[in-house]
């Protein structure tokens, strides 16, 4: 696991000082300019709840700042900065949802949005507004900083330039280096009719490095990157950014040697870390509460059934310090948690937001997430990973006579109804006679979600989480997530190469 002991120590020493400062920061930033107060929120929610049939309502306020810097041709050519702010108003009546939003945080705009969404319901019982329960129960997982101001402009530019020169220094075959640095601070505050009043200040940084290598007219690309809910200094610690440059160069040079990938069904060993995208696609999405409440997931109604080999325990954990997928509270103000999805092969639970939890008669799991104030919350993953098992990576590879060893992936996709999923390897090798031999070109792997983990025959003792680069898309909404796993052996997975 990467993550740096140094930064963990900072959190411990400052955690008391920052206790509950999130709600103060949020109020200061969001309410002060508009002259809004808690009583205004109560009034607007009250007004919503007096509509017959509205049983729940919430207001989601957000002010986000972001910047990005990009380098190519060895110079930082472009930078951009922006502020986004607004409020989303949601009224619910059973399975029905009315939603409107405004990019103005003012009382009239709030009242107008509330008036609009009331139309969702015309019958039923009148709901009621509960007293505020100020939320102090969130986790201290990251500092409430604005990463944009944690390095000055010259330092940011020097950081990007150092990645470029490191990549070019390593090998003369490197023809192009592209580096981007992105920092955001998302300040959110949610007030709901169930009494929730919670806030969070979420820093997030990410660096991406992509290089092009050329040899004898053949060109290949390599890429790397990472980040988390930290300050930009994360990239300077332990020369982490230079490490991304080295990794991208290594991959590009390796790809220059890659031969055609095999086509057909083979035994596959997946490396640790980012290959956990398998779990995200094959298992994670299919266990999101909305799909299971509606019965549209291949996993619907299967709690308590065996869906994986007994070697597999899979969790979704939003409480890991400084991780890209982590949240102090989710976007509905529910503290995040570590939810066991599969335990020793048995399906244990789903990922829930408030609405789907209520409709299914279970507790929310802190997985209600939204891209912004302008989007509705949905059950979403945080950091999804498999716990380690008994085998060393070496013995797993040695157990295969002919197969594929895939250690790096691009993205993936799943059809949650049929269960079919794909994920695309970007770095893979042939295994021949228990040994890793030649690198092969990228290829898509395809399988069936409810079935694939039943064919996990060995689980490594080398759990790793990814570097912090994942973004998950669902119904047009993007949210940052993490994945991880130990080395895994899967018997019989279809590999979409060209060599037969």
């Amino acid at each position: 696991m990467s993550g740096g002991i140094f930064l963990v120590l900072i959190i411990e020493s400052f955690s008391d000082y920052f206790m509950n400062s999130e709600i103060e920061i949020a109020k200061q930033l969001i309410f002060s300019p508009a002259g809004l107060g808690e009583s205004d929120l109560s009034n607007v929610l009250n007004h919503l709840m007096t509509q017959r049939g509205v049983d729940n309502a919430d207001l989601y306020f957000e002010v986000s700042r972001y910047e990005s810097w990009s380098l190519e041709d060895s110079i930082v050519k472009d930078g951009t900065f922006g502020i986004e702010k607004g409020v989303g108003v949601r009224a619910m009546s059973g399975e029905k949802t009315g939603f409107a939003y405004s990019d103005e945080i003012t009382l009239p705009a709030l009242e107008q949005a509330a008036k609009t969404v009331r139309a969702i319901s015309r019958q039923g019982q009148q709901g009621r507004l509960n007293a505020w329960v100020s939320n102090g129960a969130g986790h201290d997982l990251y500092l409430p900083i604005d990463p944009v101001s944690t390095l000055n402009e010259r330092e940011k530019i020097r950081l990007l330039e150092s990645v470029d020169s490191e990549a070019r220094r390593l090998d003369t075959r490197i023809q192009q280096v592209m580096v981007s640095l992105v920092g955001t601070q998302e300040v959110m505050l949610v007030a709901a009719s169930d009494g929730t009043l919670a806030a969070d200040v979420r820093p997030l940084v990410r660096m991406s490095v992509s290089v092009v290598a050329e040899q004898d007219g053949r060109r290949e690309q390599g890429s790397s990157g990472g980040g988390g809910r930290v300050a930009y200094g994360y990239f300077l610690d332990n020369d982490r950014a230079l490490g991304f440059a080295r990794e991208a160069v290594r991959q590009a040079l390796l790809n220059l040697e890659a031969v055609e990938a095999p086509a057909g069904t083979m035994d596959v060993v997946l490396g640790p870390g980012w290959p956990g995208v398998l779990l995200h696609e094959a298992i994670g999405h299919g266990l999101e509460g909305d799909f299971n409440r509606k019965g549209s997931s291949a996993f619907a109604g299967r709690i308590g059934e065996k869906v994986a080999s007994p070697l597999c325990t899979v969790v979704d954990d939003g409480t890991l310090a400084e991780r890209r997928g982590s949240l102090r509270v989710d976007d509905e103000g529910v503290p995040t948690q570590c939810t066991t999805l599969i335990e020793n092969g048995i399906l244990k639970g789903y990922l829930q937001d408030k609405m789907n939890a209520r409709l299914m008669g279970v507790a929310p799991t802190g997985n209600g997430r939204r891209e912004s104030y302008a989007h509705l919350p949905l059950p979403r993953m945080t950091n999804t990973y498999m716990l380690p098992g008994p085998h060393t990576p070496e013995e797993i590879i040695a157990s295969i006579d002919k197969g594929l060893y895939a250690v790096n992936f691009g993205g993936g996709q799943v059809d949650i109804t049929s269960g079919k999923f794909v994920f695309s390897a970007s770095e893979a090798y042939l295994i021949e006679g228990g040994k890793v031999t030649r690198p092969v070109k990228g290829a898509t792997l395809i399988g069936n979600g409810p079935d694939v983990l039943t064919r996990v025959s060995m689980v490594g003792n080398d759990l790793e989480l990814d570097e912090g680069v994942g973004t998950c898309g669902k119904e047009g909404q993007s949210v940052p997530v993490g994945v991880g796993q130990p080395t895994l052996r899967i018997d019989g997975l279809t590999i979409g190469g060209t060599s037969m």
Partner: protein, 442 residues
């Protein structure tokens, strides 16, 4: 221009004046505003009612050859001043780039046509809900194997796009986009399948009926039930229009300026080369009245023009912005922000049924999954679903397979193109028949 557009022109004018005041030697500003309504019905009742109203302003400033940008959703003079200051402050730190700058003044769309892209649909939430309910009901009642639904949605959006720069150019136009979509789930035995269909147009009167969208969604779902895998093999592949347009999308990315000057394309130096068969053509038609991909000028204010992109299989032009054009020593093609209605054709175009007959035995691909395309090498490997074809007729649905090849070979080996182009898309191409590809399965 209507009143609100004039008001936004004033905002742009303010921003440009402010940029000059703060020391920018050149600047450009774009404003986008959109309002809309979207209603989803599921299992015979309303599920969500969403109102959206988005607005944003993006500004790019140049300090000589240095560049910076910023954005804001607040159009007040103080917010604009801050946005300009943020962009200028960035431009002080970025490096001098000899290729940076606005597009040439002479290329601005000083006089541009009305492309009839704006058709307001007086649609209230109740009417939208009625249509969504009708659409979903048709789909659910189509067959008793349709057992569940993800709902039907009706959406109507209208917006305005305004652009101005320090050449003195400013232009804008309103657009609308309306759609009806439906997704249902079928079950037979233990297995479930889901599929969907949609209609979308600038003019609501050009939409397919809610009923036909519901029927099509149900038919597509039913056709997928009891899908099988295939043995690993080489076989001809017929891409249905909904997947063929994605293939051409990989082509347009490969001939786009950014991919070319960064050398991240498998089609470097391919101008005037034979990339497709000699009977294959692609035109760009930015000025089609009422089309979803039409635009009178690009995102730098450069007038768009109809052109032959590929003629007799030969690539006649790249897809360039002013920046990538200067990098390549060429002239912009008016494609900053993308392409505008690419239309593929062949000397002879047949129906999909005739193409199935020509193929005789092979795979009809109706869905592709994942991102398995390497744009620097053209290596292509994606998850696929569709139908197995023998004797020119569909035999059974197919799933959990991959298809693989290299895009350069795939383009050259197109055997025939269908007359069934998908008019809902910016890239319009009918079914295309390819000779052997690698299919991986059992």
């Amino acid at each position: 221009m209507n009143e609100s557009q004039t008001q936004y022109l004033d905002v742009i004018d303010n921003a440009l004046t402010e940029a000059k005041k703060q020391g920018a030697s050149a600047a450009e500003v774009a404003i986008g505003v959109e309002t809309g309504l979207s209603v989803t019905a599921r299992l015979g009742d309303v599920e969500t009612l969403e109102y959206n109203h988005d607005k944003g302003l993006g500004i790019t400033v140049f300090m000589g050859q240095q560049k910076g940008s910023s954005s804001t959703s607040d159009f007040s003079p103080s917010a604009i001043r801050e946005a300009v200051a943020a962009a200028c402050s960035i431009a002080k730190y970025t490096a001098e780039d000899v290729y940076s700058g606005l597009a040439d003044k002479a290329l601005m769309a000083w006089d541009y046509p009305d492309l009839a892209l704006n058709y307001i649909w007086e649609l209230d939430s109740e009417h939208a809900l009625e249509l969504a309910l009708e659409c979903e009901q048709v789909a659910r009642q189509y067959d008793k194997r349709i057992t569940n639904s993800e709902g039907a949605s009706v959406a109507s959006h209208s917006g305005v796009h305004i652009y101005g720069n320090s050449h003195g150019f400013a232009g804008g136009y309103p657009t609308t986009r309306h759609s009806i979509s439906c997704s249902v789930i079928g079950q037979d035995g233990d297995t479930m399948q889901r599929d969907y269909w949609y209609t979308a147009a600038r003019n609501h009167e050009a939409l397919d009926s809610a009923k036909s969208v519901g029927e099509k969604a149900a038919q597509r779902t039913l056709a997928r039930l009891n899908g099988r895998r295939l043995p690993t093999q080489q076989a001809p592949v017929l891409f249905a229009p909904e997947t063929a347009s994605g293939l051409l999308g990989h082509f347009t990315r490969a001939i786009s300026g950014g991919s070319l000057y960064r050398k991240t394309s498998f089609l470097l130096d391919s101008l005037n080369q034979q990339l497709f068969p000699d009977w294959f053509h692609i035109e760009e038609q930015p000025h089609l009245k009422g089309a979803l991909g039409s635009a009178p000028f690009d995102s730098e204010g450069v007038i768009t023009q109809a052109r032959d992109l590929v003629k007799k299989g030969v690539l006649l032009g790249y897809i360039l912005s002013s920046y990538s054009a200067r990098r390549l020593g060429m002239q912009t093609t008016g494609n900053a922000g993308g392409t505008h209605n690419l239309i593929a054709s062949g000397n002879e175009m047949k129906s999909q049924a005739e193409l199935l007959k020509m193929m005789d035995k092979g795979l009809l691909v109706t869905e592709l999954m994942g991102q398995g395309v390497n744009h620097i090498t053209g290596d292509y490997s994606r998850g696929a679903a569709g139908f197995w074809v023998e004797n020119g007729e569909i035999q059974f649905p197919v799933e959990e397979i991959t298809i693989a090849g290299n895009l350069r070979d795939m383009f050259r080996n197109i055997q025939m193109i269908g007359n069934d182009a998908d008019r809902r898309r910016n890239i319009q191409i009918g079914s295309i028949l390819l000779d052997n590809m690698a299919i991986a399965g059992q």
